[in-house]
């Protein structure tokens, strides 16, 4: 029987979205496909999402996919290619800006002495309002027997199933959020689950139940089985099933009753809230959502995130103690619920939340713009994709182009290669998705390590050192000629470039160039040919790049380069691992490639896992790379990271790293990012004038946020903690209505100033009201410590202080400061 063995590749396990994707792919084949998890010993048909979930498949579980029936071989290979490629994207987590929860709020809670409850953070955001509960919609199910004949009841059931299926499809089509669409698709797949629906039909035919009672019984049985499962994710699916079952019952008798909604804005508290019930609510009235603990991993939680509704989960005893109408504050980021919240606390939490939102918005805006370093060096952030759908997602996330279009996925798992027309369509689709942005199409990268049935190569003792990449092209020219012709025919659809994989000798590049020329002539094409570049994946090529001056561009594939440089299989977790990417040997080799490429006047980009790591970005920029190609979901973080770097600091970092001898030494350099050298220590956007501020905690967080939101504090929480440590030693009020809180944190530098409407008690013990708060954030840089010292001395001048207290605007105030603070 054809089969495929694999270690399960998704970190999140086989949860509902990947299972639904697997089912959809399986449905395209006539073969019967089944999934066995050897760890749990469970087997499921790929047609049944619920059964697939019940295999409780986790990351690295040994699994087998088997096929029987007419196209078993082909189905098995197709699913294999799917599992190796697009399937992995089904687990993608939406990117988010860095987390933030400083020490000020817990201090304030303790100082105000108000009760609060720790909660599981589910969806970020801050919401406040009176507690609302939904009317109990789970009417006691009709346990009755069928009134008429049993087949009529079965028909009623089938009609309801069809209507709900169609409704779900329509709702998915007009869904406002991708997550909502994905979940509605999962619901569609659950509804098509044969086990569940067959149980309903049996309950009617064999037990004589009414359709409504049959739905309730089958749903109960299946949901109870799921709820007893070991995996939290699987237990959470029981909720989806109950929601669907409920909706199905309401559809049995004509148009459904309107679902229970919120009568007025507030915080909805519900132990169990099905995704279906969530979607029936009016989100504009939903200030926040408090669920039972079992719901933290539910689809309801995912929906709350995508609708931007703050959400937490509480233990049952706590939920039961909540009174309807009671004011509740929910911080979905911290995981915090405060009953009857005092206004000072809300104000402080709002400052934190607004800071997070500002930074997240700045992140999103950065993703939409071409990337550039803080000092204006343009950087290209490109995407690695396998098809048009992934390309479209990459552009949504801000890709500047496609740096690596892997074409081999279309070839894997097939009896015969895709036709020229099929390839042409696929390539044109990606080019169309890209518009005028460049698409680098990598010619077929297969061979010993990625065998193809139609590419007969003799068995090799060591496939990774054998006929891979370009090495078999000359021996099987037809295969590659078809691909080149398809690419040339697709070229008018966009901005196409071609790339040769695994080049060792200049002759290989020239051979492909000649083939392209011949194909163009054969097609009667006279327009300029797409630029032909090459992958640099072999250490020898990297060290001796000059003979490859014919290449239009270079792309360094770090995955293979590292494997060959260290003689380590990168799939073996007991060997070197990801740290090889920042080993000084790697950096020296990469530096040599960047240097030679520049001397040859050729563009050079970096692709591979290392290129997707924002932590390594300053190193690679410092070595001379200005183009990076990574998985689509890595793009926003890379773009944000680029904007926070300046080239001079990156070069200094790279030079320091090149002088080390181990990965660990380079790691230590990376852990101490240099502060931004391009920003002045003080600027008008760091000044907050004449605002109300209820507490010292809020004042400090406001100033920390000013620094963080202007790129001067990469870790605002660390800075806030350092400032409080200093306040705890001795409050920093200096008299004269002035306080000078300060602290040091890695990468933080700057001065933020808050002038208050009303005086604030700074805890100095003399009851003096502070009206001017100046927060100094310092790293380890001597020059700016000196600047701060000079400012501190000037603050002793009454005329200078009076100027700060009365300056009419932020700009006027900044002009009063010493020059070296504002340069």
């Amino acid at each position: 029987m054809p089969h495929l063995d694999l270690a399960f590749p998704l970190a999140g396990g086989l949860h509902a979205r990947p299972a639904a994707a697997l089912r959809e792919r399986a449905l395209a084949h006539r073969a019967e496909l089944s999934w066995t998890n050897h760890r749990t010993g469970r087997t499921a048909s790929l047609r049944n999402v619920l059964d697939l979930l019940a295999t409780e498949t986790r990351l690295e579980d040994p699994c087998r996919l088997s096929a029987t029936g007419p196209d078993a071989e082909a189905a098995c290979r197709d699913l294999g290619a799917f599992l190796a490629g697009p399937f992995r994207a089904t687990d993608a987590v939406e990117p988010s800006a860095s987390a933030c929860a400083g020490p000020g709020v817990p201090r304030l809670l303790a100082r105000l002495g108000c009760p609060w409850w720790p909660a599981v953070p589910v969806a970020s955001g801050l919401g406040e309002g009176p507690v609302r509960v939904l009317a109990d919609s789970d009417e006691s199910p009709d346990r009755g027997v069928a009134s008429g004949d049993r087949e009529a009841e079965v028909r009623r059931l089938r009609t309801a199933l069809e209507r709900l299926g169609a409704t779900l499809e329509a709702e998915a089509a007009r869904a406002a959020h991708p997550a909502q669409r994905a979940i509605l698709h999962v619901h569609g797949a659950m509804l098509a689950d044969e086990g569940w629906t067959a149980a309903m039909v049996r309950a009617i035919r064999e037990a004589g139940l009414s359709a409504g009672a049959a739905i309730a019984r089958a749903t109960d049985a299946t949901a109870t089985a799921l709820a007893g499962a070991g995996e939290a994710l699987l237990r959470a699916r029981a909720l989806d099933l109950r929601g669907l079952g409920h909706r199905l019952r309401t559809l049995l008798d004509g148009p459904p009753e309107p679902a229970a909604g919120l009568e007025a804005p507030g915080v909805l508290v519900a132990d169990l809230l099905t995704p279906t019930a969530f979607l029936a609510l009016d989100p504009s009235r939903l200030r926040a959502l408090v669920l039972g603990e079992g719901s933290a991993t539910s689809h309801t939680a995912i929906l709350a995130r995508s609708f931007g509704i703050p959400c937490v989960a509480l233990p049952p005893a706590r939920l039961a103690a909540v009174r309807p109408g009671q004011p509740l504050l929910v911080d979905g980021h911290r995981g915090l619920v405060v009953p009857d919240p005092p206004p000072e606390l809300s104000a402080c939490l709002r400052v934190e939340q607004q800071g997070r939102e500002t930074r997240a918005a700045a992140w999103a805006a950065l993703a939409r713009r071409p990337a550039a370093t803080a000092d204006g060096t343009p950087v290209k952030i490109l995407a690695n994709v396998a098809g048009a759908e992934e390309a479209a997602r990459a552009f949504e996330l801000g890709a500047d182009g496609i740096g690596l279009f892997r074409t081999e996925l279309r070839f894997l798992g097939r009896e015969a290669p895709p036709t020229e027309d099929e390839q042409m369509e696929a390539y044109a689709a990606v080019l169309r998705a890209a518009g005028d942005r460049p698409v680098v199409l990598r010619l077929l990268d297969a061979g010993g390590d990625k065998p193809l049935p139609f590419l007969p190569l003799p068995p090799e003792a060591n496939p990774f050192l054998g006929r891979r990449g370009v090495r078999w092209y000359a021996g099987h020219a037809d295969l590659i000629r078809t691909q080149v012709r398809a690419a040339l025919r697709a070229a008018p659809a966009g901005n196409l470039r071609l790339m040769v994989p695994l080049v060792t000798d200049p002759g290989e590049l020239r051979w492909v160039q000649a083939l392209i020329q011949a194909c163009a002539t054969g097609l009667g094409r006279s327009d300029p040919l797409p630029g032909l570049g090459m992958m640099v994946e072999i250490p020898a090529t990297a060290l001796c790049l000059e003979p490859f001056a014919d290449a239009a561009f270079f792309s360094v594939g770090t995955n293979d380069l590292l494997q060959y440089l260290f003689a380590e299989d990168r799939g073996d977790p007991t060997l070197g691992g990801p740290a090889r990417a920042w080993h000084p040997a790697t950096l020296r080799l990469l530096g040599a490639v960047a240097h030679t490429a520049r001397a040859l006047g050729r563009e050079v980009s970096l692709c591979g896992e290392a290129a997707a790591d924002p932590r390594l970005l300053p190193l690679f920029l410092g070595l001379g790379f200005t183009a990076f190609s990574a998985a689509p979901q890595a793009i926003p973080a890379l773009k944000a990271a680029v904007a926070g770097l300046d080239l001079a600091s990156c070069r200094a970092l790279a030079e320091a790293a090149l002088r080390t001898g181990t990965s660990a030494e380079v790691s230590a350099l990376l852990d101490h990012p240099a502060p931004r050298a391009d920003l002045p220590l003080a600027a008008p956007d760091l000044v907050v004038l004449d605002e109300a501020c209820a507490t010292k905690e809020e004042a400090i967080r406001r100033l920390v946020e000013r620094l963080a939101c202007t790129g001067r504090a990469p870790d605002p929480d660390a800075l806030e903690a350092a400032v409080w440590a200093r306040e705890d030693a001795h409050p920093t009020g200096i008299g004269f209505g002035v306080a000078v809180p300060h602290g040091r944190a890695a990468g933080a530098r700057g001065l933020a100033l808050l002038r208050l409407q009303d005086g604030l008690d700074w805890g100095t013990g003399d009851g003096e009201a502070v009206r001017l708060v100046i927060l100094l954030a310092g790293g380890d840089d001597e020059a700016h410590l000196r600047t701060f010292a000079a400012l501190a001395r000037r603050l002793m001048d009454p005329a200078f202080r009076a100027g700060l207290m009365t300056a009419p605007s932020a700009e006027a105030l900044i002009r009063l400061l010493p020059d070296d603070l504002t340069r």
Binding site: R726, A729, G735, H742, R744, L785, A789
Partner: protein, 100 residues
């Protein structure tokens, strides 16, 4: 009077220098010769030398942390120790404590 002083605070970013400024400014107004050594984030600056100690009448220690090289001043009879905040807020009071 010829007065020496040392200022030091926990972080050494701001208060050390504010206190130094106040002692120098107000001391001068009161007619004293004042030299202040700062022990801050940039290390010891304006270090007090043996010659300074030899000619000194009094020493002010305005510090919230232990200072370095305390034994240098064994020969000075008149010493007052105050919190940094006092030197910043009420420098004249600090000099008053010296009986100066």
């Amino acid at each position: 009077m010829k007065i020496l002083a040392i200022t030091a605070c926990p972080t050494g970013i701001a208060h050390t220098y504010m206190a130094a400024e106040q002692l120098e400014r107000v001391g001068q107004q009161l007619g004293h010769t004042v030299k202040v050594e700062t022990q801050g984030a940039m290390g010891i600056e304006n270090r007090l030398t043996e010659a300074d100690v030899a000619g000194a009448d009094a020493l002010i220690l305005a510090a919230d942390v232990a200072i370095e090289g305390r034994d240098r001043f064994a020969g000075i009879a008149k010493v007052v120790e105050v919190p940094v905040q006092l030197a910043i807020r009420h420098p004249a009071d600090v000099f008053a404590r010296l009986g100066a």
